[in-house]
Symmetry: C4
Subunit: 126 residues, 4 copies
């Protein structure tokens, strides 16, 4: 398998929202936000995510590693260091990698585990 390096180092996802647990009519309406990162390089990608909010300073970095030649989903619901992302809040995320990667934003339907309801390529900034 020949070596490849596809994508960009900086990506932005302007739209994010994790519903409050008690807000919807039931668990079947709960969705999970995820960022999907493809690393085609022959070395690991070290990624830092910064989370922006409407009414307070950005929080981060959240540190992620995607091994060489792998793709991984990371659920924003599971982010916990430096802190959890509050439910019922609008947020955005900036994804910065030390090697080129491809980033997609997905919203997952909890009824179908990993089956995305919505998927948008992130904005490739540089």
């Amino acid at each position: 398998m020949k070596s490849r390096s596809i994508g960009h180092r900086t990506w932005a996802i302007a739209e994010g929202y994790i519903p409050a647990e008690s807000h919807g009519p039931g668990p079947e309406m709960t969705s999970h936000e995820a960022v999907c990162i493809l690393n085609t390089n022959d070395r690991d990608a070290h990624v830092q995510v910064t989370v922006y909010y409407a009414d307070r300073e950005p929080v981060g970095p959240y540190e992620l590693t995607i091994p060489a030649r792998r793709v991984e989903h990371f659920r924003f619901n599971d982010f916990d260091r430096p802190e959890k992302i509050p439910r019922g809040t609008t947020y955005a995320s900036l994804v910065e990698s030390d090697v080129p990667v491809v980033v997609q934003h997905t919203r997952l339907d909890s009824r179908q585990a990993e089956n995305a309801l919505l998927s948008t390529i992130a904005f490739a900034a540089e």
Copy 2:
């Protein structure tokens, strides 16, 4: 948190539509169109939105401010100066900022408040 300036100054959203209140089978089918703007800069973004229609001259500018290092959702339903966007009408929007920003178009499900049904990165024009 180091200073960043991510995105573009001009964005276009070709597809917009706010349903007429009485058109659908009920409020659970009513959606809300929003523009989501991420400002990663260390200064406020001053944004002007121009709304284009199928059968009359464009209207604007609608003036928005996104504070430094913040993300904000703006609902087209709430735009009222210089005038409201009529319901049941196709429109497009041009978003122009004095600093680089990232723009996403979302359609929100009123059953779930801020939970997007559809989300598309806007067209980055320059």
Copy 3:
């Protein structure tokens, strides 16, 4: 309103499909494919659409005009010259304009008239 010229002259939409009328469980499942074109210029945009198929030669051009400073939706279901697009068939479309425009592909829910279920920015080719 100052003059603007936003977008590209060539766009491609790789994915298209108009369901066969009798295929779904009823009209509430029938969708309408549309191309949404924003012309921010101070002159009319003359657009030629070429439709590509899986098993025969491309058909076109379909001729569209978007007046200066207007946005318009065109339903593929209504295209009829040089010929109708057959139902139940996969197709793609190439959109070529004499001035820069912004093109979005939408799938409309017939229950809600113009309310898009799915919307994707087209591929800006040049």
Copy 4:
């Protein structure tokens, strides 16, 4: 019909998932992932797809041919050489063509055959 060559030679789709057959409440919830490839050239496009996983080495190439001036849908569910894509597994795909093509990722609703629920333009890498 004049000759055209629209698109890019390398595309990436970061997000992919084929549900496990027995996972959902029934066939009406089963979706089919597809890659839609438009070849506007006057010669055939020879395409190699590499599939990336979360926990093992990438697999490929899967070989596809899109005839000159045609568009085709390929279902990931049907990929079988060098091997099937396992159900219930996250994957990504890298699409490499010998001529420029346009690539879109779609998720199809099995209730409506070819009627996409979700469609995202792939990431155009070069």
